[in-house]
Symmetry: C2
Subunit: 313 residues, 2 copies
Amino acid sequence: MVPSKEAVVSSYNRVKPHVHQTPVLTSSLLDEMAQAKLYFKCENFQKMGAFKMRGAINAIQQLSEIQKKNGVVTHSSGNFAQALSLAAKNLGVKAYIVMPSNAPQVKKDAVKQYGGIITESQPTLAAREEEANRIQTEKGATFIHPSNDLNVILGQGTAAFELLKKHTDLDYILTPVGGGGLLAGTALASHYLSNHCKTIGSEPFEVDDAWRSLQSGTIETNKTTHTIADGLRTNLGDQNFPIIKKLVSDIIRVDELEIKQAMQLIWERMKIVVEPSSAVPLAAVLKRKAFFNSKKVGIIISGGNVDLKNLPF
Amino acid sequence: MVPSKEAVVSSYNRVKPHVHQTPVLTSSLLDEMAQAKLYFKCENFQKMGAFKMRGAINAIQQLSEIQKKNGVVTHSSGNFAQALSLAAKNLGVKAYIVMPSNAPQVKKDAVKQYGGIITESQPTLAAREEEANRIQTEKGATFIHPSNDLNVILGQGTAAFELLKKHTDLDYILTPVGGGGLLAGTALASHYLSNHCKTIGSEPFEVDDAWRSLQSGTIETNKTTHTIADGLRTNLGDQNFPIIKKLVSDIIRVDELEIKQAMQLIWERMKIVVEPSSAVPLAAVLKRKAFFNSKKVGIIISGGNVDLKNLPF
């Protein structure tokens, strides 16, 4: 169930030529606040503005030539729609993207800009899945799930792989958790690359399905999704949950005010544009100062795709 | 009148241990838009969030031990107030900062945070100068001008020095121009470090005193200062103007809409927080596409200190 070290290393080598080796930034002011050494892996500087590019690149490359010829399909209104579109374009593959008819025009435009072929559906999960199924049947396209796909998971882990290659002595590595792809991939990289670095997830109280899933041992869902961290509203899946259960040491929950404050700190102190989901790990570190005291902590900044006209400050 | 190569090199060596070697970022999307290769030297990541730290560090270090003991004084409500405060603190020197009584509380707080000793004055230039004079007399403090001081100018040039060391084949290097310290310092670095790199200033039409000064051959002033680029409202001085006249090949003017659009491009495409003044060089490159076509262009991103509650988007 848990991919091998070889799978982790070969995914890194496969993804590397197609993505930016994003910089790792530090901030003495934030270190002082946290009383820890923080290393921010800036996937907001990644192609299309988020780590999701990595998983899409890895998954598409693992397809057979015939599969590549027939294209890929997903349903998403978020970063994965853009990631799959751009990754497919860069690899010479068609990408069919099912988007709900009420998705913001700016998101549809971004997918189009990256060459994705949009099909609109009614804005229910059932309608989106039906439309994606239809495209699989009609076009022979391969469905790629945004987070519950082993090759996507392995691809997302390459950000942590790069971080751990550069900073070999991290004590902890934190990611936000939504669908679970980034957290599972990061845990795999950390497990195989470090002797002692522990992987910790972080999520809003408002959508604490991952925390509850670890408690109960089965995949839990969210009844409501009232969080500013719009990338984290989804649930874990049967591919990533076993990895998370085995390799993630803890999940820390934070409230909405803590997320907004951490986001503002990152913008004001580090001078980088990050989406609310990216601020969740810093909020977690600041919430658990005693725990992280004097430790070396890696943080995956997941992305920077925000609407500048609609900021929470 | 024009400092020597030795002065440029020794300033670089003097400033280096006290500042961040800021990263140089690139963006394939912006390169495509500009049809040129752009290299952004990110002084928004500098200590206190702007290049002004460099000039303050250089100037304070050039003082005698007695001068250092008596402290430094300036009048400023902008980045230089913070820069002198932090530079002085880091070098174990007192900094007296004269600020107009109507300066925003957030700016006063920033100066205090960096250890500056604030004296409030009436909000006229005469009152500010009088107060600064009084402190010089009473405390024996040395006055340091934000832009019209050779050691400050040489310090500001160290950003371009770092950029040109890393990218030796730049065709042009662009900075915004306000008081003229950054532009003059950059021109000096470029003059001594490169065989062919030309230095170009950029400023808003609304405060085009530097452009008019180059036309007339004497220092011109602005009657009004209605520009979003609040760092660029000041005039050139007798220390930096001769350098600019001799070593700057052109000044490009841009309008307010062009500045806002360039600022939004930098935020959205590069995912970094920059102040409006920092967007002026990119606006200039995009305005003169034919001129910069296929060239290698360095851009000094001057700073990232903005009020997130008051953005132009």
